[in-house]
Symmetry: D4
Subunit: 224 residues, 8 copies
Amino acid sequence: MDKIKELGFAKLDLSRSQRTGQSETVFCPGKTKEQLATILKAFQEENIAVLGTKCSAEQAEHLKKEQISVVWDQQSGLVCSEWGKRSVLPGKIAICTGGTADIPAAEEAAGTAEFLGAEVKRFYDVGVAGLHRLLSHIDEIRKADIVIVAAGMEGALGSVVAGLTEAPVIAIPTSIGYGAGFEGIAPLLAMLNSCAEGMSVVNIDNGFGAAVLACRILRMKGKN
Amino acid sequence: MDKIKELGFAKLDLSRSQRTGQSETVFCPGKTKEQLATILKAFQEENIAVLGTKCSAEQAEHLKKEQISVVWDQQSGLVCSEWGKRSVLPGKIAICTGGTADIPAAEEAAGTAEFLGAEVKRFYDVGVAGLHRLLSHIDEIRKADIVIVAAGMEGALGSVVAGLTEAPVIAIPTSIGYGAGFEGIAPLLAMLNSCAEGMSVVNIDNGFGAAVLACRILRMKGKN
Amino acid sequence: MDKIKELGFAKLDLSRSQRTGQSETVFCPGKTKEQLATILKAFQEENIAVLGTKCSAEQAEHLKKEQISVVWDQQSGLVCSEWGKRSVLPGKIAICTGGTADIPAAEEAAGTAEFLGAEVKRFYDVGVAGLHRLLSHIDEIRKADIVIVAAGMEGALGSVVAGLTEAPVIAIPTSIGYGAGFEGIAPLLAMLNSCAEGMSVVNIDNGFGAAVLACRILRMKGKN
Amino acid sequence: MDKIKELGFAKLDLSRSQRTGQSETVFCPGKTKEQLATILKAFQEENIAVLGTKCSAEQAEHLKKEQISVVWDQQSGLVCSEWGKRSVLPGKIAICTGGTADIPAAEEAAGTAEFLGAEVKRFYDVGVAGLHRLLSHIDEIRKADIVIVAAGMEGALGSVVAGLTEAPVIAIPTSIGYGAGFEGIAPLLAMLNSCAEGMSVVNIDNGFGAAVLACRILRMKGKN
Amino acid sequence: MDKIKELGFAKLDLSRSQRTGQSETVFCPGKTKEQLATILKAFQEENIAVLGTKCSAEQAEHLKKEQISVVWDQQSGLVCSEWGKRSVLPGKIAICTGGTADIPAAEEAAGTAEFLGAEVKRFYDVGVAGLHRLLSHIDEIRKADIVIVAAGMEGALGSVVAGLTEAPVIAIPTSIGYGAGFEGIAPLLAMLNSCAEGMSVVNIDNGFGAAVLACRILRMKGKN
Amino acid sequence: MDKIKELGFAKLDLSRSQRTGQSETVFCPGKTKEQLATILKAFQEENIAVLGTKCSAEQAEHLKKEQISVVWDQQSGLVCSEWGKRSVLPGKIAICTGGTADIPAAEEAAGTAEFLGAEVKRFYDVGVAGLHRLLSHIDEIRKADIVIVAAGMEGALGSVVAGLTEAPVIAIPTSIGYGAGFEGIAPLLAMLNSCAEGMSVVNIDNGFGAAVLACRILRMKGKN
Amino acid sequence: MDKIKELGFAKLDLSRSQRTGQSETVFCPGKTKEQLATILKAFQEENIAVLGTKCSAEQAEHLKKEQISVVWDQQSGLVCSEWGKRSVLPGKIAICTGGTADIPAAEEAAGTAEFLGAEVKRFYDVGVAGLHRLLSHIDEIRKADIVIVAAGMEGALGSVVAGLTEAPVIAIPTSIGYGAGFEGIAPLLAMLNSCAEGMSVVNIDNGFGAAVLACRILRMKGKN
Amino acid sequence: MDKIKELGFAKLDLSRSQRTGQSETVFCPGKTKEQLATILKAFQEENIAVLGTKCSAEQAEHLKKEQISVVWDQQSGLVCSEWGKRSVLPGKIAICTGGTADIPAAEEAAGTAEFLGAEVKRFYDVGVAGLHRLLSHIDEIRKADIVIVAAGMEGALGSVVAGLTEAPVIAIPTSIGYGAGFEGIAPLLAMLNSCAEGMSVVNIDNGFGAAVLACRILRMKGKN
């Protein structure tokens, strides 16, 4: 049976982790810092591990002031509870970025995947402008069960990686770029229109979504 | 070693199937019917199974006239070679559609997945306007290893399915709708912005891409 | 006869409430704080109840400094006069949100409807990612004469609610989301393209507009 | 209990009319003519009145050939069953258009409303370029319980009507116009951004949706 | 002969006023405050009257500090030289706004027209939501030789005014609005698609451009 | 007093020409050929000169078959009544095009202006790619009271002409171009953002609108 | 001195070839077949070689019927005069395509470059989905003085080639793709946002423009 | 052989300058100031000249604090190492701007070209609104081997320059403008759709990219 905790401004699904085998997550933007604190405390009371995404510095500071035992990572914006039980997933995720500036989105993916129990291997700054950087790591990338690619600008890295590996590829367009990059529209469209097969796409800068999908795949893999 | 067949207007990768364990595919639009026939014959000579996507009636008729032993499915636009060896993949894919008009995209996914060796189960016309249609099949959908959801209009089915299952969900926005649907932009954006976790998105009407990704996942699953 | 008060920068319609049975409203953005104060004072002199929308903190502070007897609600941005007569409307409005972050738009609707004399019942954080949260409240929602749904991200809640109720549904797309949500375009398009019947849409974050329409409906209902 | 008729490509909801008090409707585009005929026959077997929208000439011809007793209206694209029971709704709907070219969308609304049991009064070609055409009918329009406004080009008629009446206004942007009208985007945006209160918007050319919403309102009105 | 003053970062056209009968103007955005001061001083040396548009507070403050004898109007962002000779133009321009928030754009037009020698009459806050406000002033508006209409939101005022007058109408879409107003795109499209005849459009918030065109018309009128 | 002829699908304003001094016009797209014929006959009965715009070949053929005495010009799509009285306007309009392909829009302007009584001088194919073509005619263009510029592709001709003349300039962006011209969006945006002063813009391909505005200006000029 | 031939609907620049060293070109779309024939004949009379672009089958047929001695290439849409003198340019241009469907745009570039006197080497179907196809030809591509890359879908080939060569790269986005490719917008944005250096972009499908620019570069190179 | 320096968050390509004859460049946005400093130091250790683009004031200050011997130019945002060897390129680049506000983008191009060893000649504020400013410098511009044109607003300068010179033209649309300029979309589209031949386009405000391409052209020129 579904157990919901009613907070008025939020309805917490306390039985999801039991139902789905995945811990809880909270989307922080648009919530007041007080609402966020209240939500995290509610999970703490039930000892359910919880991950917050895109948590601002101001929100993180408030959580600290309220002495809620969470860890905030500035680069990825993730906030992870120190309480609760975590799962372990089989298999390995490779996470690649086109450039250094794509790392925040990649780290959101990496941190989420690690929180959910997956093993992650990072390959940062391997964009197509200097293809040998990618080619010198491709054998290692090919060993992963799933590849996540975060790239801004023209987002070509996704296509190139998907063409060079057999693993499922999840592409994260990032908002890195300027002018006609339109805050990530350019790589988003590029990734949706990839001539390479075996890739799908999540929202711009949605490292979290890519990681959750990757973990669903690993969990499914682990079932048989 | 990579074996490429040079046709001038095309360079066929004859060793990919060996390399990746997946048969060859050909994107038919923009190719003349003569080019398409030449490409298919080249694969036939090598006895490599090949799948053509978005094949027009005119192209299909030409292939027939040229007596190339392929099967064309009008609804999905797929053309499958009758020659060549096919793989078999472990696991099962559920394919859902919001409405009847989304079936062509769904059948492109289904036909591709079946060509690549996967088992497919269809759940058509289970859109959110009448939620009980979906709920009455949800237990069966939950049994699949992967769920593909094809939906046009507001594309809400993806979110609802992803919220009700634990399997990875691949969403296909379809061009069904009119006015402010903008030929599939509305469901594309909706699916990219889903509040539900565990879903990623392919191009509008890209049933093929969703199926290839699903088969990569099943193949990966089968490796351990 | 129409009585207009001429302020130079604004022409106030002092007889509308008499004509239409609805109190006056003022759109605050783009007005200087001095202009806003002058407008409110003009209504106060005539003892006509007035509601200001999207009032900024700076504007509200100025009104306070000028000792104009209004109440400002930070979350909704509404400012309500304490003077003037209010109507009472028959019937009941249910207001639902997809998530916690949609509450400001919903509260703009709720506060406006209450100012105009309607009874409001709130159902917050019932988005489609966890459908059981909605389903556990659906019987109560069905009792309302009109349902207002505020949702950002993919905006699917509108379709699901419209499919589950018989009441007219007014959808408010909110600017909640990021990346390809495009500040509310994603839910706006989703809601305009809903496969569910019986729903119409107002501007992004326009809780005010949804509430005024709902009250027109209730007023019409009350006439016979 | 929900009774669903399974056709493979479609799942018909045969108990909706019982549940919601509204007859069934079918969105024709994207369905093959054979699928459409099968669906209509299924409703005929159950003697449930059914309305098809945006039915093409080719589809209508096939229905005629199949001797299904429906009436097709070329201008509106509506196809109405001659079988089944119809409801009668209290109140009256006024339907206005900006110009002659907006009549097809308006007639889709009018025909749908009449099919669902509402009384309709038409005010065509009353656009804002010649305001006296509207003003000379405004007293009659004010007598309606609900006003539907269909307008293309700059879509200003909605705002003007909403400013002149107290009834709820439902605006239908039409695809009439050219160039920077962008197939209805211009009036859609105009209607969403109306400075007049009490109006909401449906999809471009969605006369059907406007009428269904209007009928939900009338049905709600009739309940008390 | 053309006399150009070379400043390195700018090439001033000192003979234009002689050539065209119109004083000089400077577009301030994107220029450093030092560049702006240098340009104004160069015109001062030649005693050529000059108008700066969209001048920021920071730029204006610098001009003051540099003791350049100009007048800055905060609302319109115009900065006018106190030196130089001004022309006088025949005829009269009516400037209307939809609401109070459109006044800055309207004042940019009014100030520019007055700088260029035209007589201006202001009709502010006469938007279509309360049509009687416009109708009560229409006789006076009809007396103008040219009408400029500044309106944001749905920008309907342009169409209504053009339908009620015989004068040429120049429409200024303003960036007033929110959500699907898209910073002035909604009124821009509405004004471009007007069903009323005799109107043309300038850039969003381009009061300056509307006024210069109006003054060209008045100057042309004065020639015969 | 306003005399309106009620046709059901249209309300004809028979007193406008008397009121405004301008003959009647009919926008043909979206009207059935029968509706168009009925409208034209109604004007013929009253002996009011009428101009139809964007009239299709099919519509024109029907008018011919119905023996309505109108002249249809294929290039511009204009249909002019042979009955009714025409005005004569003072002054002269220069109409320029960037290239040969812009001539249909320019001819819509020219034909309309001539129908309304203005004198027109054509300067076709004087685009900026070969500036000497324009410069060799600029003295003659400068003699006009108003300049209309029709240009597609990058639409730069408007800016160049406005910079070289003192007359008011009305710019018509045309749909000529391909790819990122987006059916006229590129020249539309270019013309709206012109760095040259004294120009305003009408809808894409709206030669009619440019001409009507030009004639309003000439009529105003003629008044004093 | 500039010699212009006046045709009324066109002004031919007969001295450009003398001035610029480049033969004449004609953009065929939007011209009637009669206008096109007249223009070509005018050049023939002067014995000036001329190239027509994007010439339709209907136009080509008319030219043939009129016995104008030109050669039309269906794939590229180019029509080349058989009269007139051609130049020879130093250096070599490599033209690459991502896929077979991009060949028409590439052939427009190749045919134009050859008409203008350049040597062209074709590398077709070397897209990034199968990188070894490109890598096996990269040494030969590196020998070219300029590289033109035509690619649709995600347009990643441009970035990869620019990263692997030192020559200037001119990218042609093609309209090949579907759904969120938006007729070439996806590769256009990708190419504009390339993380690789040394590349610029022409309009979608503008093979002609890429070739003319390449030939200007070769001509400049030949000058010293 | 390729020598890559691994920094974890970046992989520096230390042999590129050897391979391509061009010094290294770093895109500064999205990098933390610490990352930027580390990257520059790594190049300094190898004594490889390096150029940083779009470097913020905050980043520049940090570099200064860290005593890294670079020069930062506020206007262009370029940061140039004082270490390392620079090349010298043959030929000359002319850089034009439409207005004063386009200078930052032009200076990014000029500074980059100078860093890479090219000779640059500046022609600022020669936009088409006052054509004589351009024409009085055109002879000098024609002497350049390559012309770079930076222009915002309607971006017409590119077309006019390309029509008046024989050199290859590289166009930089700038984000200068407002309203429907959409941060540079208007000049971007204008430049892509130029009716003038021999021009290609880089990203909005991408002075760097234009200069690198120009230098590739000069380097190629120098080879023979």
